[in-house]
Amino acid sequence: MKRVIDLRNFIDNIENQLIKGRGKWIAEFNESFINYSLDNLVFPLVVRGQTRSKGFLLSRLFAYLAMPNYLVSCFVYPSEINSYLKKEKLKILLREISKMMKKNNVKWSWLIIPKEGEFNQRIIKWVEKNDLSNIGVALVNLNTKNILTNNSVIGRKIKTILKF
């Protein structure tokens, strides 16, 4: 039987997975915010961390010597079931995230947009063509469990973070 994932569960799962180290190959996430407001936008979940992991003795030493200490964050902004996410809205989201990154010296960010349904073809094409090097964008269809990301290294990494 196909397991149905609702939005609330999906957001809870992402938070748990990131905190438990799902994204450790990219960064160590250690702080999560709910209903975080950025300008006029409210993100139900924001998880942040850094690329240099803490670890214990040798792994800590290795991280200190070999890893850059970049701040990273992961934003979750769900798209409503009955309305299509518009390109303009997505541009606003990315602009606000970019502004926040520049202001606080955050090197990489991920924007995950889950939806209990299909995304609009225009937005899919736009995301696929988008090659922002420091922000990864993922459109997640919770019904089909299909993940579509933008075409950058950071974007493609989202698939290693998200597991259903």
Binding site: I19, E31, S32, F33, I34, N35, K54, N104
Partner: protein, 143 residues
């Protein structure tokens, strides 16, 4: 005001270990200096354990023991002898911070989450459910 307090056996254990090692070392050294022999008796070990337990408990209460009291307007956080009191409305953002080894605390930020201007409530030490407590606090902050 609702009051939450729980003995943290991890910190208590750390205090006990330090005091026990200190007492035993001190006893062995004084023993050796004055009598040139090291007395090894069960009654002595029992006294040392009791003494270490008393001292470590007093030290734990003065240094680590956390008590959290709150109502819908204010909260008071006591860690050992330190006591801080704030109003919920002074804070804008809340987060759950994972400091490793399962230790979780709730951070309350005044304005900017990228500034070190926050208060940390050790939900793990208080034996609270982090997500349920975060829900409750987010309601108190938005009142």
């Amino acid at each position: 005001m609702k009051k939450i307090s729980k003995i943290n056996f991890g910190d208590l254990g750390k205090s006990f270990s330090v005091f026990f090692i200190l007492i035993v070392t001190l006893r062995v050294i004084t023993n050796f200096l004055f009598t040139k022999i090291i007395i090894r008796d069960w009654w002595m070990l029992t006294i040392e354990i009791i003494l270490a337990a008393i001292l470590s408990y007093l030290y734990y209460r003065l240094k680590y023991h956390t008590t959290f009291s709150y109502d819908k307007d204010d909260f008071i956080l006591e860690t050992g002898k330190e006591k801080i009191s704030y109003k919920w409305k002074d804070f804008k953002f809340i987060s759950l911070y994972y400091s490793g080894l399962g230790k979780i605390s709730l951070r309350l930020y005044r304005s900017d989450i990228y500034k070190d201007d926050y208060i940390e409530i050790p939900v793990y030490d208080l034996g609270l459910s982090p997500k349920e407590f975060r829900e409750e606090v987010s309601k108190l902050i938005s009142i």
